[in-house]
């Protein structure tokens, strides 16, 4: 009994509320935790690390889009700031923990400042204006990052070294454990894993706090939220700032894993599209959606192309069709999936599972009521 209470506290009382969702989530967490021992290949480890980074990135975006109802296209800007913070600090100060800490803090500080400025803009303009302004600001920032080549490495980005403890050449055990060498790379993976776990639990706590409820109220009816007495401007700005800080941290984690930061990997518009796709597919307004959505999306991104390659082989010689199933066109299929999801599954995977569970519970109470009445 006691342990279930503590789990409830850990999840901020936001339980999965669906047996299937609980099962999928446990499998995901367990899978990601044990991955280096289940699939000890480099590719699998890279895919899993990308899933981890995207979980935080998407969950932080969901704080904006799903909980507060703000559409921003500047999220990758903060992601990039986090990544460049680590990269610039590490390449200037030399590899080491102080560099990582400084870079992370500097990224957070700049994100805080910029998100505050952008957030203050949002009180002057309408929702659609805000979406367009963020798009423009993000594209200007991307240009800035690729122009300041002395500082950011331009289009090539920055390669840097990690502290010795996280380098692949550092081996902690002489013998492999369960067939896996315990080295700095493995330590990096678990650093990512526990950082992501902590950040997601923190986000759960935020959205399930009274503060999170006000954000949802703003999403549902801003005018009414204001009328009840909440300064919606303050809440929306805070939502903006928090989302930016989490995105920046996700960027820092990405840079640590890749030991690299560049405009395409951290700031490009494609990543913004990925985020949007994942939020919608996973389920808006649920942090759990970010977990399942990232998992589905990153797996699809990495393995759908293999599947399409098979299809392309089968349709070789057919003029247009073979083009349509070419692995290079995988985004086409995700785009179609996205549109279908927005219209037919607006609540995403998580919303669907929860709805199904709620319906079943409802039916059960109805039948038991019938049984008891007859």
């Amino acid at each position: 009994m006691h342990s279930s209470f503590s789990l409830k506290n850990l999840l901020s009382h936001d339980l999965p509320r669906s047996r299937w969702l609980a099962l999928l989530l446990s499998l995901s967490v367990l899978g990601l935790a044990l991955l280096p021992f289940i699939f000890p290949s480099t590719k699998a480890l890279n895919v899993a690390a990308k899933v981890l980074v995207f979980i935080v990135l998407v969950a932080s975006y969901d704080l904006l889009l799903g909980y507060t109802g703000i559409v921003s296209f500047a999220h990758t800007m903060f992601f990039g700031i986090g990544a460049y913070g680590i990269a610039i600090a590490s390449s200037r100060m030399g590899a080491g923990w102080p560099a990582l800490a400084t870079g992370w803090a500097a990224g957070l500080a700049l994100s805080l400042l910029l998100s505050l400025v952008i957030g203050l803009f949002s009180l002057r303009v309408k929702a659609i204006f805000f979406a367009m302004i963020t798009l423009a600001v993000a594209s200007a920032f991307l240009t800035l990052a690729s122009q300041l080549s002395d500082f950011t490495g331009g289009e090539d980005g920055l390669n840097f070294k990690l502290p010795a403890a996280l380098q692949a050449s550092t081996e902690y055990l002489e013998e492999p454990l369960l067939g896996v060498t315990i080295d700095g790379r493995l330590l990096s993976y678990y650093l990512l894993f526990f950082a992501v776990l902590g950040l997601v639990l923190l986000l759960l706590r935020i959205v399930n706090s009274p503060f999170g409820r006000v954000l949802q109220a703003i999403r549902e009816n801003e005018f009414r939220a204001e009328a009840i007495g909440y300064r919606t401007v303050v809440y929306r700005t805070l939502s903006n700032v928090l989302a930016a800080l989490f995105a920046s941290s996700a960027g820092a984690l990405l840079a640590i894993w890749l030991r690299y930061a560049g405009p395409d990997t951290a700031m490009s518009f494609e990543i913004m599209l990925d985020i949007l796709l994942i939020v919608v597919i996973g389920g808006m307004g649920t942090i759990y959606g970010a977990v399942l959505g990232s998992l589905v999306f990153v797996l699809a991104q990495n393995y759908l192309q293999d599947l399409l390659r098979l299809g392309e082989g089968a349709l070789q010689g057919v003029p247009v069709l073979s083009q349509l199933v070419s692995p290079d066109r995988w985004l086409l299929w995700l785009g179609i999936l996205f549109v279908l999801a927005v219209y037919h599954f607006p609540s995403g995977i998580v919303g669907r599972l929860r709805l199904a569970a709620a319906l079943r519970a409802h039916q059960q109470t109805a039948t038991s009521a019938e049984v008891s009445s007859s």
Binding site: A131, M132, A136, V137, L273, V320
Partner: protein
């Protein structure tokens, strides 16, 4: 009328900074040409937003579609484009423009029917769904025309410059200015002087009343969407020729510029869109000459400055 005053002040302010009068004239005409091409594209978007309250993030697809059609049409009409005969050249460009408009308009019809129609009145859904439309459209463009850049050279007779006194003015820029002015006049005439325009404006004001008078507002709005898409197609042809090359990403790149323009203009106003586009075009060319590094950020700077001064843009629509 103060915003118009701003438009006149910008070139006057730039003149002493640039110093040479002929350079100034060259830059001003280049800026006007760029501005008017942007206006053609942005007017379609602002029309759709102003009248139907739909923000189409997929507008870029129609721009790219127009530009790609131009590569196909002008490529097929090489006998018209490779002679120095100006009439034949202009004919080829006109055919490319019509083809771009027709195809973009037809795709716009489909786009409205399949994607946009179920999302009327829901801004968040509109943004997401048109964004999805843009992803799909861009990928389909790659299927048809490939993912590589396709060069789009100007027809023989439109290359090079004319000399106005000491100022060199590229010939194509004159064509762009004339096309943009024609679109502006046609739009103003259509919206303000014809019965169709009257009905459209009335439909925006009070849709039910117009419907009860026996007009189908729904069809009018579909026509507006198709018209907006066709304008994007036309703008795409011009922009492709202006850049002399087309990539599938061209739409997304121009989209950012277009958004800045309609934000400055006040979202939904045709005149505002014109002023915004000309300001962006002129400023980009002046800063490109005076401080090339700053040119990339001149648009953002302009947008921030305008929004500080007028948060709703230069010519906000009153009722929204």
């Amino acid at each position: 009328m103060r915003p118009l005053w701003l438009l006149a002040a910008l070139p006057l302010l730039a003149l002493p900074l640039i110093g040479s009068g002929s350079t100034w004239l060259t830059l001003t005409i280049a800026g006007l040409a760029m501005g008017l091409i942007i206006f053609i594209i942005a007017s379609g978007l602002t029309l759709v937003f102003g009248l139907m309250d739909v923000l189409n993030f997929g507008h870029g697809v129609f721009i790219a579609l127009g530009a790609f059609m131009a590569t196909t049409v002008l490529g097929a009409m090489s006998s018209f484009t490779e002679t120095p005969h100006l009439g034949a050249n202009l004919f080829a460009v006109a055919v490319a423009c019509s083809a771009g408009m027709a195809v973009a308009g037809a795709v716009g019809l489909l786009f409205e029917r399949v994607l946009v129609r179920p999302a009327y009145g829901l801004h968040l859904k509109q943004i997401l769904i048109t964004m999805g439309g843009m992803i799909i459209g861009e990928e389909l463009l790659k299927v048809v025309w490939g993912a590589q850049m396709i060069p789009l050279p100007l027809p023989e007779g439109l290359r090079g410059s004319l000399l106005l006194g000491e100022a060199a003015v590229e010939k194509f820029r004159i064509v762009a200015v004339l096309t943009g002015l024609a679109v502006l006049l046609a739009l103003l005439w259509l919206l303000n002087r014809t019965k169709l325009g009257l009905l459209i404006r009335a439909g925006v004001q009070d849709r039910e009343m117009v419907e009860s008078l026996g007009y189908r507002v729904r069809r009018l709005f579909v026509a507006v969407f198709v018209g907006g898409s066709a304008l994007a197609g036309l703008g795409g042809v011009m922009w492709g020729l202006y850049q002399q090359g087309v990539t599938p990403q061209i739409g997304a790149q121009v989209n950012v510029l277009i958004f800045i323009v309609i934000i400055i203009g006040g979202l939904g106003s045709t005149v505002g869109c014109l002023v915004g586009a000309l300001l962006v075009g002129l400023l980009a060319n002046y800063t490109g000459f005076l401080a090339p590094k700053l040119a990339l950020f001149s648009n953002i700077g302009l947008m921030v400055a305008v929004l500080m001064w007028r948060p709703q843009g230069l010519y906000p629509l009153g009722q929204r």
